[in-house]
Amino acid sequence: MAGFLLKRLIQAVFVMIVVTLVVSIAIRLTGDPALMLTQGAGSITEQDLERIREALGVNRPFLVQYGGFLAGLLRFDFGNSFLGGTPVSRLITDALPATLLLALVSMAISIALSIPLGIRAATARGGVADQAIRILSLVGLSVPNFWLATMLVLLFAITLGWLPPSGMEGPANFILPAVTMGVILTATNVRLVRSAMLETLQSQYVMVARAKGLSEGKVLYKHALRNCAIPLITYFGLQFGGLLGGIVVVERVFNWPGLGTLAFDAVAARDYPVLQGVITVLSLLIVGVNLLVDIAYGLVDPRIRTS
């Protein structure tokens, strides 16, 4: 087990190093931050530029800067925003809860939808319900998330006036973005639940449960579902990255005050410290969740850690 843990940990650290390195190199390639900061300002002398470079620390060798970035990362310090000088870490801690909360609600919606639908599809294998669910899931995989979001706003906010179109003032604001992401996640999840259930339904303990005369509901939800819970939780956990990626896009439609909005504003304003911070934190989250899922899976199922 210790070996497995260590191996996964090293992999995760490696991924983080590559990500931060690539982002740092990329951002350095964009040009001189001192010039960007002073763009449009009047009489700037070479000494002024040099002072700004000195203050930002961008005149030091790349590896020193990268080392500084890593050291800052450990203290959750990503420097200050080019605009207004707010610490990037504070901007991130302000925006992070909105994104995470939306991710959790979307995930909950998708689990609540995909488990019954997936079980229905598996028990009706090849039948009408199975085909219908498969086609619906294919449609769900084909719909652009930002367009679905726009259509929901058009229907429920503009035409019917039932729900707020944007912002994050109260629980009602969660419904449209969370349903958008929940429905799109369900399209993939329903297939995963279906195939996990199909496998489980062929096992002998399901046959025994049926032979004992248990009700079909009990067989499916108590015996079969519990036994495929482990792979399902793993699948759902590994989707976290994709989910965050989707939310980043959908945030834009709903003016959701999360990390996606922060990142896009940073891109538009060429506010590179913020961009670097957001991307680092998002990838840290994803790599962390993937690591936890893998470790949990390894703990529960010894076959994983030995293979």
């Binding site: 490696f14 982002v23 994803i286």
Partner: protein, 284 residues
């Protein structure tokens, strides 16, 4: 009723799916290819007297017009050029690089294999959109950059798929005997390995074109992709958002075009997977 139900359960239904998928794909590709002939005025022709004309009222503008009086149908069809171009070119690039890398790393193992697999780890850990924001923030959005970005982020899938198959195939007798009688490596790869992998690559490729069309439209919608003055589905959706309250059609039809195109390709891909995998697994 009973006849309908039994039809839905039958193999014919799967064939119907194929038919729908193939028809959608074909019709959309043809319409896009011949968009200049279908709409001689072009997508940028402004009809200033008919700005924001609603759809289904006027034969001149069947899907209405946008705030500049440009025909929505003509723009949707012209916008398909970008989507299909990006979808097919990016996948072609990713397939060539990915299959080559997969063959080399699976067949020769060694350093190349290690590098490819570590790359795959990193890319699997990062959602596309994060990579895209970084990349586009640095190099700027354009048609070429979008295609490069998609190739860079997608080739690993093919490399992994091909590598996995090669690892299994190279132990099989027909490869072993080919090596034993001294067939050259490149011949083994081209004549014996490649034909055995092509099926699964084609399935992945079809689904990938669909996915890349979705990704390109998201990027353009976010302002990170194609130049907004060129008609594209994502760009039309982004500019239509401002007019959502007064002109729903400007936002509805480009999205519908994406949905139908991607759905057609997904139906084709699903059907291909089932036909190439006769064990009857209909799930991913």
């Amino acid at each position: 009723m009973a006849a309908v139900l039994s039809f839905l359960r039958s193999q014919h239904f799967r064939n119907l799916e194929f038919l729908v998928g193939a028809t959608l794909t074909l019709v959309i590709c043809l319409a896009v290819l011949f968009s200049d002939q279908l709409f001689p005025g072009g997508a940028d022709k402004m009809d200033l007297l008919a700005r924001l004309a609603p759809p289904f009222r006027n034969a001149a503008h069947p899907l209405g017009t946008d705030p500049l009086g440009r025909d929505v149908l003509a723009r949707v069809v012209a916008g398909g050029r970008i989507s299909l171009l990006v979808g097919f070119v990016s996948v072609a690039g990713a397939v060539v690089i990915g299959v080559l890398m997969g063959l080399i790393s699976g067949y020769y193992r060694g350093i190349c294999d290690m590098v490819v697999m570590r790359f795959a780890d990193v890319q699997l850990a990062l959602p596309f959109i994060l990579l895209a924001i970084t990349f586009i923030a640095i190099v700027g959005g354009s048609l070429t950059n979008t295609i490069i970005l998609l190739i860079v982020s997608q080739w690993v899938q093919y490399a992994r798929l091909v590598r996995g198959s090669v690892l299994a195939l190279r132990e099989r007798e027909f490869i072993q005997s080919a090596r034993a009688i001294g067939v050259k490596d490149w011949r083994i790869i081209v004549q014996h390995l490649l034909p055995n992998l092509i099926g699964s690559v084609i399935v992945l490729l079809t689904l990938n074109v669909a996915n890349n069309i979705l990704l390109e439209s998201s990027l353009t919608f976010l302002g990170l992709g194609i130049d907004p003055t060129i008609p594209s589905w994502g760009g039309m959706l982004a500019s239509g958002r401002t007019y959502l309250q007064v002109a729903w059609w400007v936002s509805v039809f480009p999205g519908l075009a994406i949905l139908l195109t991607v759905l057609g390709l997904n139906l084709l891909g699903d059907w291909l997977r089932d036909s190439l995998d006769p064990t009857g697994r209909t799930s991913r």
